[in-house]
Protein backbone atom coordinates (compact mmCIF):
# COMPACT_ATOMS: atom_id res chain seq x y z
CA UNK A 1 0.00 0.00 0.00
CA UNK A 2 0.91 3.64 0.13
CA UNK A 3 4.38 4.27 1.45
CA UNK A 4 5.04 6.42 4.48
CA UNK A 5 6.23 9.21 2.22
CA UNK A 6 2.68 9.88 1.20
CA UNK A 7 1.57 10.97 4.65
CA UNK A 8 2.38 14.61 3.91
CA UNK A 9 0.04 14.61 0.94
CA UNK A 10 -3.52 15.61 1.69
CA UNK A 11 -6.13 13.04 0.87
CA UNK A 12 -8.14 13.70 -2.24
CA UNK A 13 -11.26 11.88 -3.20
CA UNK A 14 -12.94 8.89 -1.70
CA UNK A 15 -9.97 6.59 -1.68
CA UNK A 16 -6.79 5.61 -3.39
CA UNK A 17 -8.59 4.14 -6.36
CA UNK A 18 -11.21 6.78 -6.95
CA UNK A 19 -10.06 10.04 -8.46
CA UNK A 20 -12.51 12.90 -7.96
CA UNK A 21 -13.92 15.08 -10.70
CA UNK A 22 -12.09 18.37 -10.93
CA UNK A 23 -13.27 21.82 -11.99
CA UNK A 24 -11.56 25.20 -11.89
CA UNK A 25 -12.27 28.87 -11.50
CA UNK A 26 -9.79 31.56 -12.50
CA UNK A 27 -8.92 34.52 -10.30
CA UNK A 28 -7.72 37.25 -12.64
CA UNK A 29 -6.82 40.91 -12.50
CA UNK A 30 -3.85 43.23 -12.69
CA UNK A 31 -0.49 42.76 -11.05
CA UNK A 32 -0.65 43.01 -7.27
CA UNK A 33 -4.44 43.31 -7.07
CA UNK A 34 -4.81 40.55 -4.50
CA UNK A 35 -5.30 37.39 -6.56
CA UNK A 36 -3.06 35.15 -4.47
CA UNK A 37 -4.52 36.68 -1.30
CA UNK A 38 -7.98 35.67 -2.44
CA UNK A 39 -6.86 32.16 -3.40
CA UNK A 40 -5.26 31.79 0.03
CA UNK A 41 -8.34 33.09 1.85
CA UNK A 42 -10.63 30.33 0.56
CA UNK A 43 -8.22 27.49 -0.22
CA UNK A 44 -8.02 24.54 2.16
CA UNK A 45 -4.28 24.36 1.51
CA UNK A 46 -1.71 27.15 1.55
CA UNK A 47 -1.55 28.47 -2.01
CA UNK A 48 0.82 26.41 -4.11
CA UNK A 49 3.00 27.80 -6.83
CA UNK A 50 4.41 26.34 -9.98
CA UNK A 51 6.82 28.17 -12.21
CA UNK A 52 7.17 27.73 -15.93
CA UNK A 53 10.35 28.78 -17.68
CA UNK A 54 9.72 30.90 -20.76
CA UNK A 55 12.02 32.21 -23.39
CA UNK A 56 11.82 35.92 -24.01
CA UNK A 57 10.91 35.41 -27.66
CA UNK A 58 7.41 36.59 -28.27
CA UNK A 59 7.19 38.81 -25.23
CA UNK A 60 6.66 42.53 -25.61
CA UNK A 61 9.90 44.36 -26.20
CA UNK A 62 9.00 47.05 -23.68
CA UNK A 63 9.15 44.54 -20.92
CA UNK A 64 12.76 43.81 -21.64
CA UNK A 65 14.07 47.31 -20.99
CA UNK A 66 17.16 47.07 -18.88
CA UNK A 67 17.24 43.31 -18.94
CA UNK A 68 18.51 42.81 -22.46
CA UNK A 69 20.91 40.17 -21.26
CA UNK A 70 18.17 38.05 -19.84
CA UNK A 71 17.42 35.13 -22.08
CA UNK A 72 14.62 33.50 -20.16
CA UNK A 73 12.13 34.27 -17.48
CA UNK A 74 9.60 32.36 -15.47
CA UNK A 75 5.91 32.83 -15.06
CA UNK A 76 4.44 31.87 -11.71
CA UNK A 77 1.06 30.36 -11.23
CA UNK A 78 -0.52 30.34 -7.78
CA UNK A 79 -3.39 28.06 -7.02
CA UNK A 80 -5.50 26.63 -4.24
CA UNK A 81 -8.01 23.91 -3.68
CA UNK A 82 -11.50 23.52 -2.22
CA UNK A 83 -12.83 20.00 -1.75
CA UNK A 84 -16.51 20.24 -2.58
CA UNK A 85 -17.23 16.63 -1.78
CA UNK A 86 -15.68 13.19 -1.97
CA UNK A 87 -16.11 13.16 -5.71
CA UNK A 88 -15.60 16.81 -6.66
CA UNK A 89 -12.68 19.17 -6.13
CA UNK A 90 -12.58 22.84 -7.14
CA UNK A 91 -9.26 24.45 -8.02
CA UNK A 92 -8.69 28.19 -8.01
CA UNK A 93 -5.96 29.53 -10.28
CA UNK A 94 -4.56 33.00 -10.04
CA UNK A 95 -3.74 34.09 -13.58
CA UNK A 96 -0.29 35.60 -14.10
CA UNK A 97 -0.75 39.31 -13.40
CA UNK A 98 1.44 40.92 -15.99
CA UNK A 99 -0.26 41.56 -19.24
CA UNK A 100 2.59 40.09 -21.25
CA UNK A 101 1.63 36.66 -19.98
CA UNK A 102 -1.80 36.85 -21.60
CA UNK A 103 -0.99 33.76 -23.68
CA UNK A 104 -0.96 31.71 -20.49
CA UNK A 105 -4.55 32.77 -19.85
CA UNK A 106 -5.66 31.02 -23.03
CA UNK A 107 -4.57 27.65 -21.74
CA UNK A 108 -5.93 28.36 -18.29
CA UNK A 109 -9.32 29.47 -19.61
CA UNK A 110 -9.97 26.18 -21.37
CA UNK A 111 -12.40 24.17 -19.29
CA UNK A 112 -12.86 26.82 -16.61
CA UNK A 113 -16.30 27.20 -15.04
CA UNK A 114 -15.80 30.95 -14.96
CA UNK A 115 -13.63 33.71 -13.60
CA UNK A 116 -13.41 36.37 -10.93
CA UNK A 117 -11.78 39.61 -12.08
CA UNK A 118 -10.35 41.45 -9.11
CA UNK A 119 -9.93 45.18 -9.42
CA UNK A 120 -8.22 47.78 -7.32
CA UNK A 121 -10.41 50.88 -7.58
CA UNK A 122 -7.33 53.08 -7.22
CA UNK A 123 -6.01 51.69 -10.50
CA UNK A 124 -8.82 49.80 -12.24
CA UNK A 125 -7.07 50.03 -15.59
CA UNK A 126 -4.67 47.28 -14.47
CA UNK A 127 -7.58 44.83 -14.71
CA UNK A 128 -8.99 46.00 -18.06
CA UNK A 129 -7.00 43.38 -19.97
CA UNK A 130 -8.57 40.60 -17.91
CA UNK A 131 -12.10 41.95 -18.43
CA UNK A 132 -11.48 42.25 -22.18
CA UNK A 133 -10.05 38.76 -22.34
CA UNK A 134 -12.99 37.04 -20.67
CA UNK A 135 -15.54 39.09 -22.63
CA UNK A 136 -13.89 38.12 -25.91
CA UNK A 137 -13.54 34.51 -24.95
CA UNK A 138 -17.12 34.29 -23.69
CA UNK A 139 -15.93 33.08 -20.28
CA UNK A 140 -18.54 34.08 -17.66
CA UNK A 141 -17.11 36.30 -14.95
CA UNK A 142 -17.92 38.55 -12.03
CA UNK A 143 -15.98 41.64 -11.02
CA UNK A 144 -14.89 42.02 -7.41
CA UNK A 145 -13.48 45.31 -6.13
CA UNK A 146 -10.85 44.48 -3.55
CA UNK A 147 -10.92 47.33 -1.04
CA UNK A 148 -7.53 48.51 0.10
CA UNK A 149 -7.48 47.72 3.83
CA UNK A 150 -11.10 46.71 3.39
CA UNK A 151 -12.34 50.22 2.54
CA UNK A 152 -14.66 50.89 -0.37
CA UNK A 153 -14.79 54.49 -1.56
CA UNK A 154 -17.17 53.73 -4.44
CA UNK A 155 -20.45 51.83 -4.49
CA UNK A 156 -20.71 48.79 -6.73
CA UNK A 157 -23.13 50.48 -9.14
CA UNK A 158 -20.68 53.28 -9.77
CA UNK A 159 -17.90 50.80 -10.49
CA UNK A 160 -20.13 48.87 -12.85
CA UNK A 161 -20.94 52.06 -14.72
CA UNK A 162 -17.39 53.33 -14.91
CA UNK A 163 -16.21 49.98 -16.26
CA UNK A 164 -19.07 50.00 -18.80
CA UNK A 165 -20.00 46.48 -17.74
CA UNK A 166 -23.24 44.95 -18.96
CA UNK A 167 -25.93 44.38 -16.33
CA UNK A 168 -25.43 40.64 -16.31
CA UNK A 169 -21.87 41.02 -15.02
CA UNK A 170 -22.23 41.44 -11.26
CA UNK A 171 -19.89 43.77 -9.40
CA UNK A 172 -19.19 43.01 -5.77
CA UNK A 173 -17.24 44.76 -3.08
CA UNK A 174 -14.89 42.43 -1.29
CA UNK A 175 -11.94 42.07 0.99
CA UNK A 176 -9.60 39.51 -0.55
CA UNK A 177 -8.14 38.77 2.89
CA UNK A 178 -11.46 37.56 4.28
CA UNK A 179 -12.70 34.05 3.64
CA UNK A 180 -16.39 34.95 4.00
CA UNK A 181 -16.03 37.84 1.62
CA UNK A 182 -14.25 35.74 -1.01
CA UNK A 183 -16.79 32.97 -0.62
CA UNK A 184 -19.57 35.47 -1.38
CA UNK A 185 -17.76 36.43 -4.58
CA UNK A 186 -17.41 32.82 -5.68
CA UNK A 187 -21.05 32.09 -4.88
CA UNK A 188 -22.07 35.16 -6.91
CA UNK A 189 -20.14 33.70 -9.85
CA UNK A 190 -21.86 30.31 -9.48
CA UNK A 191 -25.24 32.05 -9.22
CA UNK A 192 -24.49 33.87 -12.44
CA UNK A 193 -23.60 30.57 -14.12
CA UNK A 194 -26.82 28.99 -12.86
CA UNK A 195 -28.80 31.96 -14.20
CA UNK A 196 -27.11 31.58 -17.58
CA UNK A 197 -28.09 27.93 -17.76
CA UNK A 198 -31.69 28.66 -16.76
CA UNK A 199 -31.97 31.51 -19.27
CA UNK A 200 -30.53 29.45 -22.08
CA UNK A 201 -32.85 26.55 -21.43
CA UNK A 202 -36.00 28.65 -21.06
CA UNK A 203 -38.29 28.43 -24.09
CA UNK A 204 -38.64 32.22 -24.35
CA UNK A 205 -34.95 32.57 -25.08
Amino acid sequence: MAGSDSTAVPVLGAGPDVAPDTVKILIAGGFGVGKTTMVGAVSEIAPLRTEEPLTVAGLEVDDLKGIEEKRSTTVALDFGRITIGEDLVLYLFGTPGQQRFWFMWNDLAIGALGAVVLIDVRRPESSFAAIDFFERRGVPFVVAANGFHGSHPYPAEEIQESLALPDHVPVLLCDARERDSCREVLIALIDRLIEDVVLRSSPAH
Binding site: V9, L12, A19, T22, E44, I84, G85, L88, L113, V198
Partner: protein
Amino acid sequence: MSVPPSAPTAGEVSGGDEAGRLVRPFTLIGGRTRPSRADFTLITTVTAVDPPPERAARPQPEHNRILRLCARPLAVAEVAARLDLPVSVVVIMLCDLLEAGLITARPPRPVTGTPDLDLLAKVRDGLGRI
Protein backbone atom coordinates in the same frame (compact mmCIF):
# COMPACT_ATOMS: atom_id res chain seq x y z
CA MET B 1 15.77 20.41 -12.46
CA SER B 2 18.08 17.87 -13.96
CA VAL B 3 16.78 14.37 -13.86
CA PRO B 4 19.57 12.06 -12.89
CA PRO B 5 20.06 9.55 -15.64
CA SER B 6 19.93 6.01 -14.46
CA ALA B 7 21.79 3.47 -16.49
CA PRO B 8 19.47 0.73 -17.58
CA THR B 9 20.38 -2.67 -16.27
CA ALA B 10 20.91 -5.53 -18.63
CA GLY B 11 17.56 -6.91 -17.59
CA GLU B 12 15.76 -3.71 -18.43
CA VAL B 13 17.36 -3.55 -21.83
CA SER B 14 16.69 -7.10 -22.85
CA GLY B 15 13.45 -7.42 -20.88
CA GLY B 16 12.34 -5.34 -23.59
CA ASP B 17 9.87 -2.73 -24.53
CA GLU B 18 8.84 -4.74 -27.49
CA ALA B 19 7.55 -7.68 -25.56
CA GLY B 20 6.10 -5.56 -22.80
CA ARG B 21 4.48 -2.97 -24.96
CA LEU B 22 1.89 -5.40 -26.24
CA VAL B 23 0.40 -6.09 -22.85
CA ARG B 24 0.83 -2.89 -20.93
CA PRO B 25 -2.42 -1.82 -19.37
CA PHE B 26 -2.49 1.70 -20.75
CA THR B 27 -5.14 4.08 -19.66
CA LEU B 28 -6.04 5.33 -23.06
CA ILE B 29 -7.55 8.67 -23.81
CA GLY B 30 -9.09 9.23 -27.19
CA GLY B 31 -8.09 5.85 -28.55
CA ARG B 32 -4.46 6.75 -29.14
CA THR B 33 -1.80 4.19 -28.47
CA ARG B 34 0.60 6.63 -26.85
CA PRO B 35 -0.18 9.20 -24.22
CA SER B 36 0.61 12.76 -25.21
CA ARG B 37 1.27 15.90 -23.23
CA ALA B 38 -2.18 17.15 -24.19
CA ASP B 39 -3.65 14.41 -21.99
CA PHE B 40 -2.45 16.25 -18.91
CA THR B 41 -4.14 19.51 -18.00
CA LEU B 42 -3.33 21.30 -14.76
CA ILE B 43 -6.32 19.69 -13.07
CA THR B 44 -6.06 16.22 -14.56
CA THR B 45 -5.80 13.88 -11.58
CA VAL B 46 -3.14 11.22 -11.60
CA THR B 47 -3.08 8.15 -9.42
CA ALA B 48 -0.35 5.56 -9.00
CA VAL B 49 -1.38 2.06 -10.04
CA ASP B 50 -1.13 -0.15 -7.00
CA PRO B 51 0.32 -2.70 -7.23
CA PRO B 52 2.44 -1.63 -10.20
CA PRO B 53 2.26 -3.84 -13.28
CA GLU B 54 4.73 -6.72 -13.13
CA ARG B 55 6.41 -5.92 -16.39
CA ALA B 56 7.06 -2.28 -15.57
CA ALA B 57 10.68 -1.21 -15.70
CA ARG B 58 12.17 0.14 -12.51
CA PRO B 59 11.20 3.82 -12.37
CA GLN B 60 13.85 6.51 -12.17
CA PRO B 61 14.17 8.49 -8.93
CA GLU B 62 12.13 11.46 -10.15
CA HIS B 63 9.46 9.11 -11.41
CA ASN B 64 9.42 7.40 -8.04
CA ARG B 65 8.85 10.72 -6.32
CA ILE B 66 5.82 11.26 -8.50
CA LEU B 67 4.52 7.77 -7.79
CA ARG B 68 4.81 8.34 -4.05
CA LEU B 69 3.01 11.69 -4.36
CA CYS B 70 0.13 10.25 -6.30
CA ALA B 71 -0.39 7.15 -4.17
CA ARG B 72 -3.69 8.96 -3.77
CA PRO B 73 -5.25 10.99 -6.59
CA LEU B 74 -3.49 14.32 -7.08
CA ALA B 75 -3.88 17.05 -9.69
CA VAL B 76 -1.00 17.62 -12.11
CA ALA B 77 -0.56 21.20 -10.85
CA GLU B 78 -0.15 19.90 -7.31
CA VAL B 79 2.39 17.29 -8.36
CA ALA B 80 4.43 20.02 -10.04
CA ALA B 81 4.19 22.39 -7.10
CA ARG B 82 5.14 19.72 -4.58
CA LEU B 83 8.10 18.59 -6.68
CA ASP B 84 9.04 22.22 -7.29
CA LEU B 85 9.32 21.50 -11.00
CA PRO B 86 7.72 23.27 -13.97
CA VAL B 87 4.45 21.70 -15.09
CA SER B 88 5.88 21.14 -18.56
CA VAL B 89 8.66 18.96 -17.12
CA VAL B 90 6.33 17.02 -14.86
CA VAL B 91 3.96 16.34 -17.76
CA ILE B 92 6.75 14.70 -19.74
CA MET B 93 7.44 12.37 -16.83
CA LEU B 94 3.73 11.68 -16.39
CA CYS B 95 3.58 10.65 -20.06
CA ASP B 96 6.31 8.11 -19.36
CA LEU B 97 4.52 6.79 -16.28
CA LEU B 98 1.18 6.55 -18.07
CA GLU B 99 2.75 4.72 -20.95
CA ALA B 100 4.43 2.32 -18.53
CA GLY B 101 1.08 1.61 -16.92
CA LEU B 102 2.30 2.96 -13.59
CA ILE B 103 -0.34 5.67 -13.23
CA THR B 104 -3.86 6.32 -14.35
CA ALA B 105 -5.03 9.77 -15.42
CA ARG B 106 -8.51 11.18 -15.04
CA PRO B 107 -9.34 14.20 -17.20
CA PRO B 108 -11.15 17.16 -15.63
CA ARG B 109 -14.90 17.39 -15.66
CA PRO B 110 -15.77 18.81 -19.08
CA VAL B 111 -17.52 22.17 -18.82
CA THR B 112 -17.44 23.39 -22.39
CA GLY B 113 -20.74 24.80 -23.50
CA THR B 114 -23.38 24.77 -20.81
CA PRO B 115 -22.28 23.29 -17.50
CA ASP B 116 -24.95 21.14 -15.93
CA LEU B 117 -27.08 22.50 -13.12
CA ASP B 118 -26.38 19.57 -10.83
CA LEU B 119 -22.68 20.32 -10.95
CA LEU B 120 -23.22 24.04 -10.31
CA ALA B 121 -25.59 23.36 -7.43
CA LYS B 122 -23.04 21.00 -5.94
CA VAL B 123 -20.27 23.59 -6.18
CA ARG B 124 -22.54 26.23 -4.67
CA ASP B 125 -23.41 23.97 -1.74
CA GLY B 126 -19.78 23.11 -1.23
CA LEU B 127 -18.77 26.78 -1.18
CA GLY B 128 -21.46 27.43 1.37
CA ARG B 129 -19.77 24.98 3.71
CA ILE B 130 -16.25 26.38 3.67
